[in-house]
Symmetry: D2
Subunit: 383 residues, 4 copies
């Protein structure tokens, strides 16, 4: 089975299982000359890591990233960046009851049926632990995008039936990291936290959603139709574990809007260029970025691993059993999903920045000129 | 710009613009030995073609498909299948006002800004006319899937605020082609038709959605995480013109369900194999098909080309203008989108059937043995 | 079976069989704004087409190319370019004896064994007729490269044991199209022609080779190791029908040279940049272009279809048979292979020009500004 | 820069520099159920590693491989296999003179010109140290191929002007590992060894070549034209560092053979199937394997790093300099290249075994049935 590669030019390739020895990620296609340290990556890993708060699993993983290649004197060299993150606190024993009796709605059965085997400790490859690799790669993508003036941020906008009011991009940046739920609206965050605690106490879990937004994206990203910006975002976000819906712009609501209501008239901006009066189109027109903010939502279903008793069918013994999943699991996914969604958004955008020639695939300008060959006439920077 | 290729092993490559000379599609990776005629393809093209009814554009395109290669004596040969569909009824003149003054929320501006030019007749490459290629390729995919016992069908389940009640797969197959709206619930279809007529009269358009379902899909399709079945379906469906949301299983609603509610307990089927009691998971667990029906929804926004007056900004003259889009346009997209959604579903599934080894990539068994080398020991069919 | 796609960003996808209805080729990834007409493509097709001379097959194919999409007012639009070339003079009857009795060393047996069938007329998909598509796509690539100052040319440097002396790039450009053999050394060309006539008279055929060279290639093309410039050239050239060897720089001879002999010392060019004193490295160092001319050779074996009697084994009847291949076949391949080798060289180089950011993937500057949006600040040309 | 990925279904992705912290390789697409230990991989790594003999660099690298994922209880699980190999004995200091003054014919200049920087220690990414990753991945491929009855082996058949006589596949398997040169003809091996010693003493190096052969390859592998078996082998072998020529079958010699001489007549094998009388076609006809042994040659130029004085041009100081490359370098490449060539041959073949459906992409049969779901009706093994 393949499926561990993302990106056409900014290529991410991953390995690792929840209770294996290590997670790892190879990035190729990152231009040379980007200043990059393990700390840059660690900051995002810390936002995703377990044990941050009461509403995340208590598994104690430091998630320390080690850069094995692709960096010289603190700058990227244009060659593949190898990242490895050791797994430390894996306790597989708790999963033994489920080796031949699959947890309801988890990947246990489909993996075993496909492969005739699976790494059963903690979900193995199907575990959301895999996303540690994505967040690591996404941190590199974000650094590249920031140089080009592209900013992106996500926050939790719904848990169960508690929905946050609309908040601005500035508010999301300012407030989403201030509370454990990662909701940028503090009052709603408190309500969400209570709701989660209630479900947790019952031994149950709950679904929710994440709103994402990117600003500063230039006009012209996307390769319609099959690789339109919306199609690639759709793939990226639907790859996030537990995702059941992807929407951009008006999303599902667009089914009830008329053309006249949804269409965004054109006016001129201060430089005399056409610009849409509103942004009901969500920053993408005809599959290509319009220059307006790109925004949308991702729905994550409730975690399937819950302490409540559930019925399973043991294919070895042929018996129906009632089982409780006792591991250390999150009662809700969106709070830790925020950096994951940001990472997939960043990886998608940086790939299109390269594909559309907005980023030089060989190198960017940060690095000091120690080994510089800038004066060489073939150097595209000299043209 | 690339973006005209779909599929890793069942590969579809397209060309063509709305008012260009022809549309075309090359399929490679279709196994040899499949009985295939132009009529097989034509049947689906006729479901998509313009001028079928009052609620579709009156553009008169026969959409006759011509097979240029890859077929011998009525059977596929395993080599690329070249398809060409001539454009006949293209009247570009009506689009002249929009050459430098983009239609609101259409791809006019983004294409021109990206390329410095565009084929402006009828939307050019950004037109949904491109989907004639997809439907042609999808018809071939459906034939392959049918041999494996996989059936799929879509219907229109919402237009504006009129939503169809839940209908069974059998009902969808029986009724969705009986009315112009392609809604499998006849009473709702009537209401939808009236609503569409109202908007059409006003010179406006309206959004809607399509429900799709596939049955008989074996356990084990999908390559998590980046190419999980849900991720690839997400890409496929978000590539459909005007799509703003993709959902599978509970979709967006999953955000309000608890784990206990959504999880599907296991029981044994009549053969003694584990099978889920319900199918709230939508046929995909851990990114891999579970053997249960795969279902979901796609939201299509209202057509952007409407006769109502809208404001545009002419980048050549620097003037704001009020314009009406006079072409021959659909007042609503889902009815003609049904075969398109089915095509993308079929293309995604057939690709995974090949990727998972469920389909022999070299050949299937239909063809008579005239040039047969079956007795050769290297022939995998003899093993 | 796939295998009909070439290029990562400049993507060529082909279809067609020797005696099918048409050949075709879709190019995507060609930037907008390139002036392009059918005549530009036709010029190269005419160099490859059959019936040019006594030493090429007498099959009468006009090979007229028709552009179906991707062009507006004589300039590319950045969207896929669909090309179709009708097959006219196909006489399949002569191939009937070989339907179940494979021609020696042709693809008859391998195709039938793989697919259980094959298009047996004239070799079907395995025929070198497929290269008409490559030459068409290569003509577009050459136009793009010429804008960047990259020139390339090939000529026939050996037929049987007659080898041309070394000739300069200027001589190749000046003389290779002056004789039927396409050898840039006129005296050698005469000898080759006689040798070919001798073998033709005997009912036999003969092998030969093509020398190719590209000048003006900037430093920095190639993605070592798996996609180094030499690896990709290796794939491109080995794809040419009948090719049994690919060499660049010293090629096979390098096995007898010492490091000191082969290494090229560095000096400074007139601009004060490092430049190699010689070019024994063939323009590629460490898998990346060095700025020096890229050169090499391709060996093509003798055509397998010969009038001389040969033994075949009929898998239908179980009988050994002596057969003569009576079709209209070339007695030698390199003369018509010259534009094919040039095409594959051009396709490889243009792809790396895009991959390394030397060419803007969205557009080049040729087109007049009728629909120009150049003033738009997001336009990368304005930066 | 990308270029660190090989294979369409059996996918290998690599990272690492000569003097970086570690080398690494991720394999995805290996079916589940293959028995695999670090020792299986280590055996081939030991054949490639430095310090084996007088004619290899004395750099002391144990090259211990560590498996980070994809294995459970000694069997593959079908999920990505992460491999890491630490670099231990890196002494970068000796390369300081070459930071801004490139070694002749090495990748120093092209890397610096492309990226504006490079990891200069020992050649960084351009070093043949990268091939440790290939050999590791190749060892896994070989295990899979062996299960299918495919054997492959290479040996050194020429060093300088000393050429080995033709030896059989059995002899290659028996003798090639018996001497330091890895030549299967013992007397020639002695001569080669002396020649190498002579050049080494002079401070020079010498070129050579490797012959490879695969037996048991079934009919039907290859995806002509662009991905014909010969084209993909061409890419694979030309990717090997220092390779300047790739030949299969008669190779370069085919240019002097007539059609009648080279064509292989058909007869029937003992089972009554068509089989070629000889194998001058090298096991590939029409780009597809014929069932006969696949064989060919790869030419490797002399190592560029030599102690002899050479001229370089320092782009920082603008001075011409005479320099000697003092590191620990091989005087000849083919002996250590043998396992590398075998690895690339194995990786190419296993990929086509998957692409042609000869290998089940989900799983093979080795593993004990602990977590078996074999009885499940969707399991293709039960069909």
């Amino acid at each position: 089975m393949n499926g561990n590669r993302f990106g056409r030019l900014f290529q991410v390739t991953t390995f690792g299982e929840s209770h294996g020895e290590a997670m790892g990620c190879t990035i190729s296609g990152c231009p040379a000359g980007l200043e990059l340290t393990a700390e840059d990556i660690q900051a995002d890993l810390d936002r995703r890591k377990p044990g941050q708060s009461m509403i995340t699993t208590s598994r104690g993983e430091p998630d320390d990233v080690s850069i094995k290649s692709g960096i010289q004197d603190g700058y990227t060299t244009g060659t593949p960046i190898g990242l490895v993150i050791q797994n430390k606190d894996a306790r597989s024993g708790k999963y033994e009851p489920f080796i031949t009796a699959p947890r309801p709605s988890h990947g246990d059965f489909t993996y075993s049926a496909k492969f005739g085997t699976r790494n059963w400790g903690g979900g193995g490859r199907s575990s959301a632990r895999e996303t540690v690799n994505w967040v690591a790669a996404g941190a590199v993508a974000k650094k590249l995008l920031a140089r080009e003036g592209i900013e992106l941020k996500a926050h939790v906008n719904q848990i169960g039936d508690i929905e946050a009011p609309e908040v601005s991009f500035e508010e999301i940046k300012a407030h989403s990291e201030e509370n454990d739920v990662r909701c940028a609206h503090p009052e709603t965050a408190d309500e969400m936290q209570e709701l989660i605690a209630d479900y947790q106490e019952e031994g149950d879990s709950i679904g929710g959603s994440i709103y994402f937004e990117a600003q500063g994206v230039p006009v012209g990203l996307g390769a319609p139709r099959f690789d339109s910006l919306s199609a690639r975002l759709g793939q990226a976000m639907m790859a996030v574990p537990a995702t059941t819906a992807f929407e951009f712009g008006l999303g599902r609501e667009a089914r009830e809007w008329t053309g006249k209501e949804r269409n965004d008239d054109w006016e001129f901006d201060e430089d005399g260029n056409p610009t849409p009066v509103e942004n009901d189109h969500g920053g993408i027109q005809g599959g290509i970025s319009s220059g307006e903010p790109i925004y949308g939502e991702v729905t994550l279903h409730a975690p399937t691993s819950i302490p409540k008793s559930q019925q399973t069918a043991d294919w070895e013994t042929g018996e129906l059993k009632e089982e409780k999943v006792i591991g250390r699991h999150d009662p809700v996914l969106p709070p830790r999903g925020v950096p994951v969604v940001e990472a997939m958004l960043a990886l998608t955008l940086v790939d299109f920045m390269l594909l559309s020639g907005r980023l030089n695939p060989d190198r960017v300008d940060d690095q000091p000129g120690t080994y510089d060959t800038d004066y060489h006439p073939s150097n595209p920077r000299n043209e």
